[in-house]
């Protein structure tokens, strides 16, 4: 079990800035996130889209904002546990125990939930039969390329993931690339590569059409797709790869006994504490009268929550409000002299 002062759930901009606000107060934190990288929605949903309402930053992309935040928290050498989802939160006297799906266990007097809209998970095929083939012959990610050698592979989707994997796997397998409309939205050079491989007969492009059924007993043997004009086609298929992006699911958070309004957690706007002492929520996932789902609101929320975290983590010390411009202690913690 790893002990710390604060367990932060979610490595989006608000979770990252929480590290800063805790760090300058001398508190340690660890961060857990279900994605394989930090940045949350900024990285997953709009890495290239400009954001115009970060104070004093007239314009920056989600990716740039994440980079800047990482730079800002560098002095604190915080440990990140990525690709991990918090499954369980339990009370242990004055502490909270957190268990993850990666069998890690953490203990801390405080938890800050900065989970956005929940954890990102692949969007699944809507066909009912699809589920029984999951992880045997239907996949939402490629973990081991070897598995896909010398097979008939049907890839669904029209974005970069679908195109990139179509290209990569076409080196040693027969690929069907299936999309609901004629246009693909990938990098132009990827698209021209795909077109070239189509001419060479290595990739067969099927548009505009959608999956209508999957055939097979234990493993998939074929799929049937339906074109917009009503025609259907049966395609011999060993594996389906489906790339319809990620969706956000609240997941286990709903089961931790927190007061909730729809998919958000009720907090006290004085310190952003939930109905459970020592569990805070900030950013898009929290709600209170007048709540705005803005990154800047999340920054404010973790600043206030960090004060309460200090009181709980250091019950014998007095909290002193300090400015970074004048506090030698803070400057020391930031590695400045």
């Amino acid at each position: 079990m790893k002990k710390t002062d604060v367990i932060i759930i979610g490595a989006g901009p608000v979770g990252l800035f929480a590290i800063h606000q805790l760090g300058i107060k001398g508190l340690d934190a660890i961060v857990i996130d279900n994605l394989d990288k930090v940045g949350g929605q900024c990285i997953e949903l709009y890495p290239d889209k400009p954001i115009y309402d970060i104070p004093a930053v007239p314009e920056c992309t989600g990716e740039e904002l994440t980079k800047k935040l990482l730079e800002q928290i560098k002095p604190f050498k915080t440990k990140f546990f990525l690709n991990e989802r918090v499954d369980e939160v339990k009370k242990d006297n004055e502490n909270w125990i957190v268990n993850t799906n990666n069998n890690n266990q953490f203990s801390a007097p405080n938890i800050i939930i900065a989970g956005g809209v929940g954890s990102f998970e692949p969007r699944k095929l809507s066909l009912k039969d699809a589920e029984k083939f999951e992880e045997t012959s239907l996949f939402y990610a490629v973990r081991n390329k070897e598995k896909f050698k010398n097979k008939n592979i049907s890839i669904f989707g029209g974005g970069d993931s679908a195109l990139d994997w179509a290209l990569e796997l076409s080196k040693f397998s027969k690929i069907n690339l299936i999309h609901r409309r004629e246009e693909f939205r990938g990098a132009p050079h990827t698209l021209s590569e795909i077109k070239k491989l189509e001419k060479e007969g290595k990739i067969s492009i099927k548009t505009p059409c959608q999956l209508s059924s999957i055939e097979g007993d234990k493993n998939i043997t074929s799929i049937t797709i339906k074109f917009d004009n009503g025609k259907t086609e049966k395609i011999e298929t060993d594996y389906i790869l489906s790339f319809f992006g990620l969706i956000m699911k609240l997941g286990p958070i709903a089961e931790w006994g927190l007061n909730m309004s729809k998919k958000t957690i009720d907090v006290n706007p004085e310190n952003f504490e939930t109905n459970k002492k020592g569990i805070f929520a900030a950013g898009d996932i929290c709600t209170y009268p007048g709540k705005l789902k803005l990154i800047l609101s999340g920054f404010h929320e973790v600043a206030l929550a960090s004060v309460e975290c200090f009181k709980r983590a250091r019950p014998n010390e007095k909290y002193r409000f300090e400015f970074t411009t004048s506090s030698k202690t803070i400057q020391g913690r930031l590695g400045k002299k």
Partner: protein, 106 residues
């Protein structure tokens, strides 16, 4: 305030007045219309406010920009008349608009 009708996939329907300037998504959220999640809050980043727009209305609406159409690829069972309701801004010309929410959003 134009009247907008939100139908669901099982035939239920609700008609409400939506203030000009709001989006069809915001109209639904403020009036607790089920079937529209709008997880990203209207930043065209999630496709969980996906609706089907009745044919006659679909052609009257300003065309979806590329980024919206790209995002609709990610929606649950997209069709030719799919739109993201966060991108449809309500004005007097939308009096009587009818949209249908999909069976589910994710």
């Amino acid at each position: 305030m134009p009247k907008i009708t939100y139908k669901d996939s099982s035939g239920g329907s609700k008609t409400i007045d939506v203030e000009n300037g709001l989006t069809v998504m915001e109209g639904a959220i403020q009036n607790e219309i089920p079937g529209i999640d709008a997880d990203c809050g209207g930043s065209m980043a999630c496709a969980t406010c996906h609706v089907y727009v009745e044919e006659e209305w679909f052609n009257k609406l300003p065309k979806a920009e590329d980024a919206e159409v790209d995002m609709i690829d990610m929606a649950f069972e997209p069709k030719k008349n799919s739109r993201l309701s966060c991108q449809i801004i309500v004005g007097d010309e939308l009096e009587g608009l009818v949209v249908t929410t999909p069976e589910k959003q994710t």
